[in-house]
Each structure stands twice: as structure tokens, then as C-alpha cells.
């Protein structure tokens, strides 16, 4: 990308979080701490939760227990039947203290003992997550605490169900706020389109997001009845959910490795030049991001791009340089079909095989009435593959790097609208131009 992803959003979010935290610390220092024991318990819970984070698809991080603890403190009304008076700023201060406390192990432990070699303040995903959780907790507290402290909540919804509904509404708003913040941060970090990023975040609200919100509400409700014992007790189900998320992430990583190996098979067998599959996948993903695909679609696109040449294994003799883009169309289709046959048997989602099967279908602008449209992913991979094949061919002719690039883009532009989808070619020009 020419200018790099915009970072203004990140700076704004981080600055907002730092200012809010400083203000909250100042206010608590001036005013003094209400119920210090309760505050300490929640600080410890949040800090512990921050230490056990999980990775979601698309390089996102979440600290479910930390987030649930922060939400619970923001929504904490009575404790063991007695009213609390911590207010908005103390809720923010406690969340911030928990986040800072979680940095301690990284500072105190020597380098060899730590799992990650990078210092936490250089870890961008972690900083983003922390800023999000701080602002999210501040948002939830800002809705709930004034209403509770002014006695409005008690007057209008003293009995159980109504109070529950009120909590649910606040938690849902907080979750939406968190999703928006996360989408802003992701757009800035990965160059994903904002709607696609927001869609990802809203999707994960149904998964781990709802579990976090439910646990936060449950802990605040139960603390009202049984006191601080509710914290460890009701965070246990979330801990379980976290374990299964980790397991799922490990399985995902394995699938990725296996697919990468399958992609490498054509290279080992001498059908394609070294690194071809990886380069095509990278180009395809960059173009896909530019065209606004969501994380899930990008993951499928990456799988399909990595395995797009598997069908070549059926050829007795390798194509020279593995440049399938330069073969006759009928032969290209045959290879694509054979590849999709292998992929169909691998158990990756069905769309991947479909994308590879349609890879060699040229783009005529509009599909004919009797045949289904060529999937966008197939069109993207077709362009990315041609790009890499032509670039390799240009290098083989001894053309200079910069000249070769321009030449390749020119060739692709010529096929625009006839062989290649114009939108995809334009996106490629923007990304690699």
C-alpha cells in the first residue's frame, strides 16, 4: 500500500485511554478510595485475567476474564446487600491498576522465563486490547454508576427481573462500544476496511463476547448476594470457555501448517518455483483486504491461494517454471478441476475447493444465464497467480525489477475486463503499484 495504513485512529484511542486513566488516578488520589478491599479484589481479578489472554482468528487478542472483571466492577451495585459508592472514576482507576499490575510479571521476570520475548509495551495487540478494555469499562461505568448512585435504579427497578433487564441493556451497549473501538483499532492496524472489521467484531460478540458480558453481569449480581466469593466462583465457567478457545486456536494453527505443507508439495515436486504459493497467497490477501473481505473470507482465500496449484501434481511432466497462467485455457481448467478434487477431500471448508475449481474460468464481466458467477476469491487468485507467474517470467528474461513490475501490471491491465476482473486488477494496482 502506498501510504501505509492510517494510524490516526490508534493514536486517538490510546491518547483517550491514557488521559482518562490519568484523570481517574488523580481523582481517586484527591477524593480517596471508597471500599478499598473490594477495589483491591477486583484489581487482582483483572490483573490475573490480563495475564491469561487468548488469540482469536485474525491476530486479535482478548482477555476474557480481565474484561469480565472490569465489566463486573463497572456494573457493581450493592455488595452483600450493602450499597457501594465507588463511582465512575474509581471503576476506571481500578481497571487501569489491574492492567498495569498485569505488566509486572513481564518486568520482574528475567527474559528467559517469559514466554514472549517482546516487552509488553512494544506488543501492539496487547496495548490495543488494554486501551479497549479501559475505555469499555469507563463507558459501562459512565452509564450505570450515576444512575445507581443517584438512587434511580433502586427506585424504578427494585425487584429482580427489571434490574436484570437494566443490566443487560447496559452490558449490551458496552459490548457495542467495545466492538466499535476494536474495529477502529483493527482498521488502523491491518488495513482492513471498517465495515469488514466491524462485522468481524460483531460476529465475535456472539461467541466469546456474550460469554464475557454474561460473566460480568453474573459476577456483579452474585456479588450483591454473596459478596466477594462470587469473583472466583463465577469466573470459572469463563475460564473453561477460555481453555476451549485455546484448544480451538491450536487446532487452527495445525490446520494452517498442514495446508502450508500441502502447498509446498508442488514446490518440492518441482512443479512450481520456490515460494510461489506463499507469494500468491500474500498478494491475494492484500487484494482481498483492499476489496473489503472479512477475516473469515480472507482465511478461506488464503487457504485456496496456497493450494491453487495442487492439481499440477497430476501432470507427468512439470510445466516450465510452473507458469500455469501461460498455458492454454483448457489445460488450466483441467488442472484447477483436479486440484479442487484433492482439496475437496482435505476437509477444509467446501468453498475453498469451489474457489480453486473456478480458478481458470475467465472473467467476462457478466456471467451467462446458465452458469453461476465466478466467486470473487477465484477471480482474486487468478489475478494474483498471473501476477506472480508474469513477474517470475520477467525476472527470467533478465528485466530489471522496477521495469518488470510495471510491465506485469501493464499486461494485467490489458486483460482487464476480458480475462481478469477489472475491480481486482485495480485493487492489485493500488496494492502493488
Amino acid at each position: 500500500m502506498s501510504g501505509g495504513p492510517p494510524v490516526g485512529g490508534v493514536a486517538a484511542v490510546h491518547a483517550g485511554a491514557v488521559v482518562l486513566l490519568a484523570f481517574a488516578f488523580g481523582a481517586v488520589a484527591v477524593r480517596g478510595m471508597a471500599e478499598p478491599g473490594v477495589a483491591l479484589a477486583f484489581t487482582v481479578l483483572i490483573a490475573l485475567g490480563e495475564c491469561v489472554r487468548i488469540t482469536l482468528p485474525g491476530d486479535r487478542e482478548q482477555a476474557p476474564i480481565g474484561a469480565a472483571g472490569a465489566l463486573a466492577y463497572a456494573l457493581l451495585g450493592p455488595l452483600r446487600g450493602l450499597p457501594t459508592a465507588h463511582g465512575v472514576l474509581q471503576a476506571v482507576a481500578v481497571t487501569g491498576a489491574g492492567l498495569l499490575l498485569a505488566l509486572l510479571p513481564a518486568v520482574a521476570l528475567p527474559r528467559g522465563v517469559r514466554r514472549r520475548s517482546r516487552a509488553p509495551w512494544r506488543d501492539r495487540a496487547r496495548l490495543d486490547g488494554a486501551a479497549r478494555r479501559l475505555l469499555g469499562a469507563g463507558f459501562a461505568a459512565a452509564i450505570f454508576q450515576p444512575l445507581y448512585n443517584s438512587g434511580l435504579v433502586d427506585r424504578f427497578s427494585a425487584d429482580g427481573p427489571a434490574y436484570g433487564v437494566f443490566l443487560t441493556v447496559v452490558a449490551a451497549l458496552a459490548a457495542l462500544c467495545d466492538a466499535t473501538l476494536a474495529a477502529v483499532l483493527r482498521r488502523a492496524r491491518s488495513g482492513l476496511r471498517f465495515p469488514a472489521a466491524l462485522e468481524d467484531e460483531l460476529r465475535s460478540l456472539f461467541g466469546i463476547g456474550s460469554a464475557i458480558a454474561a460473566t460480568g453481569m453474573l459476577v456483579s449480581l452474585a456479588a450483591g448476594e454473596v459478596g466477594l466469593w462470587a469473583l472466583p466462583l463465577f469466573c470459572t465457567p469463563l475460564l473453561l470457555a477460555q481453555v476451549s478457545f485455546r484448544r480451538a486456536a491450536a487446532v487452527r494453527a495445525t490446520t494452517g501448517q498442514t495446508i502450508a505443507s500441502l502447498a509446498k508439495a508442488t514446490e518440492v515436486a518441482g512443479y512450481t518455483p520456490r515460494g510461489h504459493a506463499r507469494r500468491v497467497a500474500d498478494t491475494a490477501c492484500a487484494v482481498g483486504r483492499e476489496l473489503g473481505l472479512s477475516t473469515r473470507e480472507l482465511a478461506l482465500l488464503e487457504y485456496a491461494a496456497l493450494m491453487h496449484d495442487v492439481g499440477q501434481l497430476s501432470l507427468v511432466e512439470p510445466v516450465p517454471d510452473g507458469a500455469t497462467a501461460l498455458l492454454p485455457e483448457e489445460e488450466q481448467r483441467r488442472i484447477a478441476r483436479l486440484g479442487s478434487e484433492v482439496i475437496r477431500r482435505t476437509g477444509v471448508p467446501r468453498q475453498v475447493a469451489e474457489q480453486v475449481a473456478r480458478l481458470a474460468d475467465p472473467w467476462h464481466g457478466r456471467p451467462k444465464a446458465d452458469e453461476p458467477a465466478v466467486p470473487l476469491a477465484a477471480r482474486i487468485i487468478r489475478v494474483a497467480n498471473a501476477h506472480d507467474d508474469l513477474l517470475t517470467a520477467a525476472r527470467g528474461r533478465g528485466v530489471g525489477e522496477a521495469v518488470g513490475r510495471l510491465e506485469v501490471l501493464e499486461v494485467l491491465r490489458l486483460g482487464r475486463g476480458r480475462v481478469y476482473d477489472g475491480r481486482v486488477v485495480d485493487a492489485l494496482v493500488r496494492v502493488r503499484g
Binding site: 429482580g160 427481573p161 436484570g164 461467541g207 466469546i208 456474550s210 460469554a211 454474561a214 460473566t215 453481569m217 453474573l218 449480581l221 452474585a222 448476594e225 466462583l233 463465577f234 470459572t236 465457567p237 469463563l238 473453561l240 470457555a241 477460555q242 481453555v243 476451549s244 478457545f245 484448544r247 480451538a248 487446532v251 487452527r252 494453527a253 495445525t254 490446520t255 501448517q257 498442514t258 495446508i259 502450508a260 505443507s261 500441502l262 509446498k264 508439495a265 518440492v268 515436486a269 518441482g270 495442487v310 501434481l313 497430476s314 507427468v316 511432466e317 484433492v342 482439496i343 475437496r344 477431500r345 482435505t346 476437509g347 477444509v348
Partner: protein, 540 residues
């Protein structure tokens, strides 16, 4: 986890309709691997899926008796005064909204945890007249995936009502007709187990202790109820295994012991939490909040299961890619994996390593991808340079799978499966104990299967001849320990050599005498592990 029945005759009225496999398109090896490494603790199943459709008479009676007994358990729900002599709690009035809600929740979350569409979603589709998506088999057909709601029902309801909670999902769960009998039977056995557990809980005065939130004291009846549930469940399922599959009666005891594991304890704790919250001031609302994280973890777990199947299938695809090139080795990789597991089973290897070994066997020749197709398909002899080109395949294979982390020990096995005990093998010329254990196993399994199956250049040999040949070369080429283990395993298990493709093929194949060729050179030069081209010959 709570067990369910998976007997093929119940699940598959017609052999071949493939109702059982965890994933409709997962290949047989993945299925067998899962069964072998997962549920049966590494037990090897040599017999392939044979469609035994007829149940013995005893099993048929049992198949009918359990649902009838479950129906009898539901009788106290009828609004007639209980006859004298029946304990009061058995005929206690039923809180119908609570039963309905629990049954609904159990149904929804059980399908969620199995990775299937929930009943509400199916109803919605039916109302909108959308075509229903292709029915997917449950993610974990062997276990009742989501237990907390059922257990909360056991703790809060009278026995008959608790049994009712398990029923609806059994009747509505899987809509595919071939699963009907299994569904009904499993629902009935779960209902019976819930009834027994709830009865035990009531006998120990659990409900009073739970209502009063008297905590350490209320845990004892709760645990007793859990034990009763697992016992009833294990014995009922074990009974079917004994009657239908002719397993030994020890299954009856092993079943409950296997069911009462950590997962079921954790789920039961979740159920207890739900029950306590339900009876608290916020009622069902708080209970639902506690259920959310639990159900999401179960759902993610089911997704993980599916993806695990998928990645086993992906490994399979790597093998298929090799088999595109070399049709004669079709099925060879799979059989080497099987033979390797047989050997390791005799050595008493643990289940996790068996799994890795099976992958090592399946993938051992994956490096042949890097060898020219023409050389692999060649019938005639190879010259020096060509043989060298074929002999780099272990190195290629290692390069190819090096980055797949879960293969662990299998990496070394793939690289060194052509080493010889006397150090004259390739690629590194390792000798004796220097050769990794897995590689020594794969080497024997590979040679054994090569000799017993028909190749383009010779016919397959009977097992006895192959064993004699292995014994002749044990010590020089093969590890005697592994050869002995294979011989012992073959005495217990049945090995079926592959059937050749057709009679015409057989006639075309020359009848070359059996034998493991000796290396051409007696003292090969040693190369580092990745070096790769020591010219020696071995069975391939």
C-alpha cells in the same frame, strides 16, 4: 463424558449409508485413527467396517426394554393420586414451566455442543420455508456433549420430571431416519439415568439441603447423584455392548469408571451452579447467565473437534497427492501406518505416541512427491543416478512436513525410515540404537507391507513368507525387537494382504522371487541428516 451408544447395527440399518463417521467425508483412516487413539485407548481395529446389520435376539429385546422402562419412569407425571407405599417425593407436583424450560435449554445446548442447528433454528427455517441445510453428523457422536442442564434438572426436579428433560432432544435431535433407533434408545437410557440420579438425590435429602444453601453438606448428595447417573449410564450402554457386540462383561464396570472423569465433574459443577442460581432471587435469568459461558465453551469444543477431523483429512490429502503420482502404492501408506501401530501396540506405547506413529506411517513416503513420476512408475531397473534420485525421497519428505508441529517424533521417522541396523542404509547411515525408535518401526512395517502387496514389478506374497524374510534380515537390516513385535501382533490380529486390482493385472505382474536386496556398496559414506544421497538400495 456421559456415554452414548454407537453400535453400528443400531446406527446403520443399511450397511454403507455411512451414518456413523464423525464427518461425512472424512476418509476411513481418519475415522479409524480417531477411534483407535481416542475412545478405545489406542486399541487397534484391524477389521474394517463390516456392515453387521442383524442384532442378536437378546439385544433386540434390550433395545425395546430400555425405552419401555424409561416410559414407566415417566408415569408419576400423570395427574393421578399416587398409590400407597410410593414415597411422597416420587409423586410430587410438577413445576411444568420449569420442566419445559429445562428441556428446551437442554435440547438447544445439546445440539449447539454437537455443532448442529438448534431446534429453534430448524423451526424458523421450516416456518420461513427455507430449504434445510444438508444434515451434518454430530461432532461427538460418542458422548452426550452438554450435561449441565440435565444435571441441574436432576438437582431441582422430582425424578420423573428430571427424566422428562432428557426426552425431547432424543425425539427431535437428529432428523436423519437412519439414526432414529439410536436416538430413541439413547434418549431412553439418559432418561433412566436421570431418574436414578434424581431418586438418589432425593433419598439423601438433597433438595432440602440445596434450598437451604447448606453448602458442604449439600455437596454429598450431589456427588452421589452424579455417581448414580454415571453408573446407570455406563451399565445401560455396557449392557448393549455385551448383548450386541459380544464384548466381555467387564465393559459393564469399565463404562461407569470411564464416564466419571474430569469433564463430567466440571459439567456437574456447572449444573450445580445453575441449580443454585435458579433457586436464588434472580431465578432463571441468573441461571441463563451462568449457562452462557459454559455453552460457548462446549460449542467451541465442538468446532475444535470438527477442525481436528479436518486436519486429519488434510494429512490424508498429502498422501493422496503422492498416490496421484504412484498408483501402485495406493493404500500402502495407510497400511504401513496400521502395521506400525500393531508393532507399537505390542511394545506397550501410550496412546498419544501411537497417534503420532500412525501419522508417521501414513506420511513416510510423502517425499516421493519430489521424485520424477517417470522413475516411480518405471518397471525396469534404475541406473545409478536414477536410483540416487529415488533415494532422496526421505529428505524431501522431511523437508515437506518439517513445519507441521504436531507430527513431533514423526519427523525423524520420515527422515530415517530407510536406515539399516548395520549402518548401510540411507540418508545418514545411522546404525543400531542411533536410529530413532519410530524409524525402526516404520522400516519393518514398510518392508512387510511392500512384500505382501502386489507391485508393478512383482506379485504380493503370503504373510508367512514375508515374515520369514523379515526374520532372515532381522539384525542386519531390521531391529529384531520390532520384527518380533510384528510377529507376535500378527499372531493375535488378522492381517489381510491387499487384493490386487484385478486378475488381468495379476497376470501382467512378473513373479519375481521375494527378497530384500542387499546394498550395492558395503561401506557407504556417512552424510549429515539433511545431506541426502547415499547410494544404497532397500525395499521401497
Amino acid at each position: 463424558m456421559v456415554r452414548q451408544l454407537r453400535h453400528s447395527a443400531i446406527m446403520r440399518p443399511h450397511a454403507g449409508t455411512a451414518a456413523y463417521p464423525p464427518d461425512g467425508h472424512s476418509p476411513p483412516v481418519a475415522r479409524r485413527a480417531e477411534r483407535g487413539a481416542g475412545q478405545d485407548g489406542g486399541e487397534v481395529e484391524i477389521a474394517t467396517d463390516s456392515g453387521d446389520t442383524d442384532l442378536p435376539t437378546g439385544a433386540v429385546c434390550y433395545l425395546v426394554a430400555v425405552p419401555v422402562a424409561a416410559f414407566c419412569c415417566l408415569l408419576p407425571l400423570l395427574p393421578v393420586p399416587a398409590p400407597a407405599g410410593v414415597p411422597r417425593w416420587l409423586g410430587a407436583p410438577v413445576d411444568w414451566p420449569k420442566v419445559g424450560l429445562l428441556a428446551f435449554l437442554h435440547g438447544c445446548w445439546e445440539s449447539l455442543a454437537q455443532g448442529q442447528p438448534t431446534p429453534c433454528r430448524r423451526l424458523l427455517r421450516a416456518l420461513l420455508r427455507r430449504p434445510s441445510p444438508p444434515a451434518r453428523p454430530p461432532a461427538r457422536p460418542l458422548a452426550n456433549a452438554f450435561f449441565p442442564v440435565l444435571f441441574a434438572g436432576v438437582l431441582m426436579l422430582a425424578p420423573a420430571a428430571a427424566a422428562l428433560v432428557a426426552v425431547p432432544i432424543a425425539l427431535l435431535g437428529d432428523t436423519r431416519p437412519e439414526c432414529r433407533r439410536r436416538q430413541v434408545w439413547n434418549g431412553a437410557q439418559l432418561a433412566l439415568s436421570a431418574f436414578a440420579a434424581s431418586a438418589v438425590f432425593h433419598l439423601l435429602a438433597g433438595p432440602q439441603l440445596l434450598l437451604g444453601s447448606r453448602f458442604p453438606a449439600a455437596l454429598l448428595p450431589g456427588f452421589a447423584a452424579l455417581a448414580a447417573f454415571c453408573l446407570a449410564n455406563g451399565v445401560l450402554v455396557g449392557g448393549m455392548l455385551v448383548l450386541a457386540e459380544g464384548r466381555r462383561a467387564t465393559v459393564l464396570l469399565r463404562g461407569p469408571a470411564a464416564a466419571l472423569g474430569l469433564p463430567v465433574l466440571v459439567h456437574a459443577a456447572g449444573g450445580l451452579m445453575v441449580a443454585v442460581l435458579w433457586q436464588g432471587p434472580y431465578g432463571a435469568f441468573a441461571a441463563l447467565l451462568a449457562l452462557l459461558p459454559l455453552s460457548i465453551s462446549a460449542w467451541v469444543f465442538a468446532q475444535g473437534h470438527r477442525e481436528r477431523d479436518a486436519h486429519q483429512a488434510t494429512v490424508q490429502a498429502l498422501v493422496q497427492a503422492v498416490e496421484i503420482k504412484d498408483a501402485y502404492t495406493r493404500g500402502h501408506s495407510e497400511r504401513v501406518g496400521k502395521a506400525a501401530v500393531l508393532i507399537a501396540g505390542q511394545l506397550g506405547m501410550e496412546a498419544e505416541r501411537l497417534r503420532t506413529l500412525r501419522f508417521a506411517g501414513i506420511l513416510h513416503d510423502v517425499g516421493k512427491l519430489g521424485v520424477a513420476t517417470e522413475l516411480l512408475r518405471r518397471n525396469g531397473p534404475l541406473d545409478e543416478a536414477e536410483r540416487r534420485a529415488v533415494e532422496v525421497h526421505p529428505v524431501h519428505g522431511y523437508e515437506l512436513v518439517r513445519e507441521i508441529a504436531f507430527l513431533g517424533e514423526a519427523h525423524a521417522a520420515i527422515l530415517h525410515h530407510h536406515e539399516r541396523m548395520d549402518g548401510r542404509g540411507y540418508p545418514s547411515g545411522l546404525a543400531g540404537e542411533q536410529i530413532p525408535e519410530f524409524a525402526r518401526i516404520i522400516s519393518v512395517a514398510d518392508a512387510f507391507d511392500s512384500m505382501t502387496s502386489t507391485r508393478s514389478y512383482r506379485r504380493g506374497r503370503p504373510v508367512t513368507e514375508a515374515v520369514a524374510e523379515l526374520e532372515r534380515c532381522s539384525g542386519s537390516q531390521f531391529d529384531p525387537v520390532m520384527v518380533r513385535a510384528l510377529v507376535e501382533a500378527l499372531a493375535v490380529h488378522d492381517w489381510q494382504p491387499v487384493l490386487p486390482p484385478s486378475d488381468d493385472c495379476i497376470r501382467a505382474v512378473p513373479d519375481i522371487p521375494l527378497g530384500v536386496p542387499e546394498p550395492v556398496r558395503s561401506s557407504p559414506r556417512r552424510v549429515p541428516a539433511q545431506g541426502g544421497n547415499v547410494p544404497t538400495a532397500g525395499p521401497s
